[in-house]
């Protein structure tokens, strides 16, 4: 006679799983990875491999020997953290720095809070900011695109945002713009910057894939990009000599990578669409404030980490629209 399993409903489950979602994000990053390898060659391959391997290894070691829990290093989240960390580093950074960054990302960013699902701040950005503060010189030397066989010996230069920040001390925007790559190159990714952030085109393709697969919704990325566009647009209209145009801001720096991949991290972003929009507007405004009025040329990393900190508060006060509060007659 059969013995039946008795459990409460539902008795059917969707085929979604954490690894499936994580690998979905990883697949969407492949175009950007391809572009980065094309522009930065061997350096990108070394940095990415070391970053991914270190994140997975540190997650395994910490879970097994410090937390004494069943390791979940293969669920895709450590791989994703490693990939995203590599994307926001220069491709000529020494591999031991990458390992320190990975340890900061997984160890401090994720495991100290209790592992996946409990961290307040985006682990990859924690790793990046840790390196940025610890090794400011290595973290601001950007290799020029096209040096396939170079790693730490690559010839370096300044990012478009760096050129803008320094140039504005004694020049107008109109005088600086000829020094930065054309908009087409900025869009395709032929510029100096963190290895994975350069190609707006590849990242936008990834975003479309993520939205199509319903892995993320449009709310966070489009709100951030829209806010930056509007805010810098207002400044530009007010004084085009002092402020770069909005398209320049959209296509440079880590904005695309941040808006599409860093800010949309499930764990550290708000739950409701309304909350996501508030979060996105906040990140957009702070990014522009740092870029235009702050000491650093780029601000998206700090903006996202700041609003990661606001996420629990947003979740507490921004509720979904409940069914049946008001009666509509129609």
């Amino acid at each position: 006679m059969n013995k039946f399993i008795v459990s409460p409903s539902p008795h059917a489950y969707s085929s979604d799983s954490v690894p499936k979602l994580m690998y979905g994000v990883i697949i969407s990053l492949l175009p950007a990875l391809g572009v980065s390898v094309f522009y930065f060659g061997i350096g990108m391959i070394v940095v990415t491999s070391v970053s991914i391997a270190s994140c997975i290894l540190f997650e395994y070691l910490i879970q097994k020997y410090m937390m004494k829990v069943k390791p979940t290093h293969l669920d895709g989240s450590a791989l994703l953290t490693g990939l995203l960390l590599a994307f926001c580093l220069p491709s000529n950074i020494p591999f031991w720095m990458v390992m320190i960054g990975a340890l900061a990302a997984v160890g401090i960013g994720k495991m100290t809070f209790g592992g996946l699902g409990n961290n307040i701040f985006n682990p990859a950005l924690v790793g990046r900011v840790f390196l940025f503060i610890s090794f400011p010189v290595a973290m601001t030397a950007w290799p020029e695109a096209g040096q396939w066989m170079s790693y730490t010996d690559a010839i370096t230069g300044a990012t478009p945002l760096g050129l803008m920040k320094e140039g504005l001390v004694n020049k107008t925007v109109g005088e600086i713009m000829p020094e930065v790559p054309s908009f087409l190159n900025l869009f395709m990714g032929k510029m100096m910057g963190s290895a994975g952030e350069v190609s707006a085109l590849a990242l936008l393709i990834g975003m479309c894939y993520l939205i199509y697969r319903k892995i993320i919704s449009w709310h966070i990325p489009l709100t951030i990009l829209g806010t930056v566009f509007i805010f810098t647009g207002i400044l530009w209209l007010a004084n085009p000599d002092r402020f770069a145009d909005p398209l320049f801001h959209l296509l440079t720096g880590g904005l695309m990578l941040g808006a599409i991949y860093m800010a949309t991290d499930y764990v550290t972003s708000p739950m409701t669409p309304k909350g996501m929009i508030i979060y996105g507007i906040g990140i957009g405004i702070v990014t522009v404030l740092i870029r235009v009025f702050g000491a650093y040329p780029e601000g998206v990393q700090f903006a996202i980490l700041i609003f990661n900190g606001f996420t629990p508060l947003i979740n507490k006060f921004v509720k979904p629209k409940r069914f049946g509060k008001e009666v509509s007659r129609g």
Binding site: S7, S9, V18, R322
Partner: protein, 444 residues
């Protein structure tokens, strides 16, 4: 134009309507039936027969006690073997009448002909009385006594009758089979319910995965005040609050009933039962049950007598194989798991679903990654992840503030969770505890 559906949340599980298109097959009588006296919401009926009594089909064997309760009739003719407690689909032993089947002799007052009756001279009052006498309850699964629903409370006004032909649960096809084969009778039944309720307008919602049923019902409804509306396939559209919103854009208030927005909802099966009760004097002694599952040779729609053992139905649909690990009374989303097949079919049984081993086990529970999918799918606009955390911590007052009592237990959250978290289990726990708190507050 995009198809109508409810506005918030919802999921679309694989439909698996294996028995779709199977005609309704009238099953031979079993040897013994067990008829529980509590097949409805409300007070159990009072048993009127004793061991050894001879009964006929349609004979009253247990009488309604109190307002929310209803009558129970014998579904077979034969001898009462025992009046005792028997295990029912809940797994508990409850009072029931066991009858040995002898022949098939019906009460004389029942009209067993097949002619369609479309009009009645009866008044609303008479209709409600007949529906109580015939023991009609909501056949969608909630089994709320129908005569109670037909009595509109003072101060409220019914404007619309909404008929539920949605059948949004995967696998189930009993309502589809009924609408395809008995469309005229269902329409006549809806008209009976309209008269019983005193409304002029009715609207029947059917999901678009049943084009045959929509076509048949539209044809049968021609010239009546009944609108047949196709709906986009989305679960839980058969939830009455969702259905009313999908069809009429009216939101039933939190804690309220459809009558608060001028609507009363009945299932198509209930409309059919009302037709037979009012036009043919036939009590509720049989119903259509889908018997389905991937391991069954012959997924079927059976017309069976109330009290027939579930094991008998499974045998007739191809038998139980070793790979079956779970048996559900109802659909996969909201049905209840049975611990044994030796339980009777009751008025609320819409389907018997056999689930294989690999699909029966729950997956390993992983940490919440705050993907917000549970919020997105919740049709009531709740936050399942938060409610689960609050229930784990025992913060029941906060659960009440977060509107946990609005949860309709559709299971969309647990279904969709990529971390396989048992969200609805914890929400149910919270609802039970909040219910206790609310009752205690009322008692003070």
């Amino acid at each position: 134009m995009s198809l109508k559906t409810f506005s918030r949340g919802g999921v679309h599980p694989p439909e698996h309507k294996l028995s779709s298109g199977a005609a309704i097959e009238v099953l031979d009588l079993p040897e013994v039936v067990i008829i529980p006296v509590s097949q409805h919401l409300g007070a159990p009926a009072k048993v009127l027969v004793n061991r050894g009594d001879q009964v006929k089909v349609g004979q009253l064997i247990a009488q309604s006690v109190g307002f929310v309760s209803t009558n129970i009739h014998s579904s077979v003719s034969g001898k009462v073997l025992k009046v005792d407690k028997f295990p029912d689909s809940s797994g508990y032993r409850r009072m029931a009448v066991q009858i040995q089947v002898e022949g098939d002799q019906w009460e004389e007052f029942i009209d067993r002909s097949d002619d369609l009756v479309r009009n009645t001279v009866l008044t609303g009052e008479d209709i409600r009385k007949k529906i109580l006498e015939a023991g009609i309850v909501g056949l969608g699964g909630a089994t709320f006594p129908s005569h109670v629903k037909l009595m509109v409370p003072k101060g409220k006004k019914a404007e619309f009758l909404v008929v539920n032909g949605v059948e949004c649960e995967p696998y189930l096809t009993a309502d589809e089979a009924l609408m395809t084969s008995k469309s005229e009778e269902v329409i006549s039944g809806i008209q009976v319910l309209m008269k019983g309720l005193g409304v002029e307008k009715a609207i029947l919602g059917i999901e678009n995965n049943k084009p045959g049923a929509i076509e048949k019902m539209k044809k049968a409804a021609e010239g009546s005040h009944i609108v047949v509306q196709g709906l986009k396939v989305k679960y839980p559209q058969g939830g009455e609050k969702q259905l009313v919103q999908a069809l009429l854009k009216r939101e039933v208030p939190s804690g309220g009933l459809p009558i608060d927005v001028g609507v009363v909802v009945f299932n198509v099966g209930t409309a059919m039962a009302a037709y037979e009760a009012v036009m043919r004097n036939k009590p509720l002694v049989e119903r259509v049950v889908t018997v389905t599952g991937k391991s069954l040779a012959k997924p079927s729609n059976f017309k069976v007598r109330i009290g027939t053992p579930v094991s008998y139905l499974v045998e007739k649909a191809g038998g139980l194989s070793d790979q079956v690990a779970k048996v559900i009374n109802g659909g996969p989303m909201m049905g209840k798991a049975l611990s044994s097949l030796d339980v009777p079919v009751v008025k609320g049984s819409s389907g018997i679903l056999l689930i294989d081993t690999e699909e029966a086990k729950r997956k390993e529970v992983l940490p919440c990654i705050r993907c917000s999918k549970c919020l997105t799918v919740c049709p009531m606009g709740l936050e399942p992840y938060l409610l689960m955390t609050l229930a784990e911590k025992g913060l029941y007052e906060r659960m009440e503030n977060e509107k946990v009592m609005d949860c309709i237990e559709c299971g969309s959250c647990s279904y969709t969770c990529p971390s396989s978290r048992p969200l609805l289990d914890y929400i149910r726990l919270g609802k039970a505890e909040v219910g206790k708190i609310m009752r205690a507050r009322k008692a003070v």
